[in-house]
């Protein structure tokens, strides 16, 4: 019998909600790591019992926790994220040089092929990899030492590497996104990186279509179409069909094209989900109504999904890692809000219901589909 496991990171701990494939009755475990700020948790596609978590606190900094029994028990593993070689400078908010300084892990991406290999996207922007089950971490420093790196500047959340997509058919190809440097691609396992921002336009830049400097909020890819990537940018929802060679806008009739997460339906590579947010000055849904937008045409035309979602006085944001889809057909869609709710749909977004409420601020939502 299929099991669905939803992993929720919050500002004060993590929660795990589990249901069978009908996704009706949810059993909740937590808080795990109570009091820790858990930016992200994610399960291994190779072994669903292997789950990673990235708790941090202001007092103690970053730790990494690993479970080998499906998020029931946890063991702290290595937490030394040392940038490799000399660290140069990036730009501070005011444009002055600022030394690279590790702050936290934003995203953990387990390898699609090896259970002991996991990638970590960190702030200040860098990509680390562990190949020994999290005991030690090595930086893939070709990204941080890219020729453009001294021009990168932080977004409002910091200079963070928050998105890592790995092509399951060719793990040497990866996409990453950094706020506010933009999107990058490697075809050689991280030895070299190409900025892939052609077609993006960002009003906060002196040169609106610059090579780097774009505040990319999130990327999503269907595993069978690794050349097609969807992007929620600071403003604008974008799409590329040539692995980032050029992006074109697919915001279409969205009520707002500002937002954070983007996801693709595993059953249809042309079905895409985003969550419209009012603006970069007003980080809450337009009109106080939480609506998930779904396009079945690969963008451009969007329908607003509202049934079961709060349609008045809803001012929670959905952060970039706080939307996930399961692998069922129709797929389940899960969104977590900064006002502490996790909503689930088990019919591809048509109808929703809360599976968790009154949590601390939700920072991330991931889901495992376990046969």
């Amino acid at each position: 019998m299929t099991t669905i496991r939803v992993l929720v990171g919050t500002a004060k701990g993590a929660f795990v909600a589990t249901a069978t494939g009908d996704r009706q009755d949810w059993q909740v475990q937590g808080p795990l790591f109570g009091g820790w700020e858990v930016y992200h948790l994610k399960g291994s596609p190779v072994d669903p019992d292997r789950v990673w978590a990235a708790p941090s606190t202001g007092w103690h900094g970053q730790v990494v926790q690993r479970s080998d029994d499906g998020a029931r028990t946890w063991t702290p593993v290595g937490n030394e994220f040392a940038y490799r070689g000399p660290t140069g400078t990036h730009q501070s908010y005011d444009g002055t040089p600022h030394s690279w300084d590790f702050a936290r892990v934003w995203h953990l991406e387990p390898s699609p092929t090896d259970v002991d290999t996991v990638f970590a996207g960190v702030e200040d922007a860098g990509l680390f990899r562990s190949t020994d089950g999290g005991s030690t971490w090595q930086e893939l420093d070709a990204l941080r030492t890219h020729a453009t790196a001294d021009t990168w500047q932080p977004g409002a959340g910091g200079l963070c590497l928050h998105t890592i997509l790995i092509d399951p058919g060719n793990p040497d190809r990866m996409y990453v996104a950094i706020s506010a440097a933009g999107a990058f691609r490697t075809d050689d396992g991280g030895d070299s990186w190409l900025p892939i921002n052609t077609g993006l336009q960002s009003g906060h830049l002196p040169d609106e279509d610059a090579t780097v400097g774009h505040c990319v909020h999130n990327l999503a890819m269907h595993p069978t179409r690794p050349d097609t990537v969807f992007m929620q940018k600071h403003w604008d929802v974008m799409r590329t069909d040539d692995a980032g060679g050029v992006w074109h806008e697919i915001s279409g009739d969205l009520p707002s094209d500002f937002g954070f997460p983007v996801a693709v339906d595993p059953n249809d590579p042309e079905t895409v989900f985003v969550v419209p947010i009012t603006s970069d000055s007003e980080h809450y849904p337009p009109d106080g109504a939480l609506r998930v937008a779904r396009s079945r045409t690969g963008g451009g035309e969007w329908e607003l999904l509202t049934e079961g979602l709060p349609q008045q006085h809803a001012y929670g944001n959905v952060l970039r890692d706080a939307m996930a889809v399961d692998l069922m057909d129709p797929c389940g869609v899960y969104v977590g809000t900064t006002d502490g709710a996790v909503y689930a749909s088990r019919d591809g977004g048509d109808r929703w219901s809360p599976i968790l409420e009154h949590l601390p601020r939700v920072l991330s939502v991931e889901v495992q589909t376990i046969p």
């Binding site: 009091g35 820790w36 606190t57 202001g58 007092w59 103690h60 900094g61 970053q62 730790v63 702290p76 937490n79 030394e80 040392a82």
Partner: protein, 101 residues
């Protein structure tokens, strides 16, 4: 010759290390602040990086250490522990600054 000293830990470090409010660590005859922190991290590797910076060994900004009603946070690592701590009458207290959470 070695001896043990008592170390008080804050909540999050207790859960990481799997200890109670206090743990004991083995040190030499003339233990220093640095030695007791080294011994603590050796006994509980999960605490590495959570009290002192991995690379520089410097105290994390929101960590403090007290003993015998004195703030020792700004003392050098080679500062000898107070006699009461060495004798086991008082703990060496590691705690989070009130601003750190």
């Amino acid at each position: 010759m070695s001896r043990t000293v008592r170390v008080g830990l804050p909540h999050h470090l207790r859960t990481l290390a799997g200890t109670g409010r206090e743990t004991v660590v083995s040190v030499g005859d003339a233990p220093t602040i640095g030695e007791v922190l080294d011994a603590l991290e050796a006994a509980h590797p999960a605490l590495r990086g959570t009290i002192r910076d991995h690379e520089t060994g410097r105290r994390r900004p929101f960590m403090r250490w007290f003993a015998c009603e004195e703030d020792l946070s700004h003392e050098p690592a080679d500062t000898p522990l107070p006699r009461e701590v060495v004798d086991g009458d008082e703990p060496f207290r590691i705690l989070g600054a009130i601003a750190g959470g």
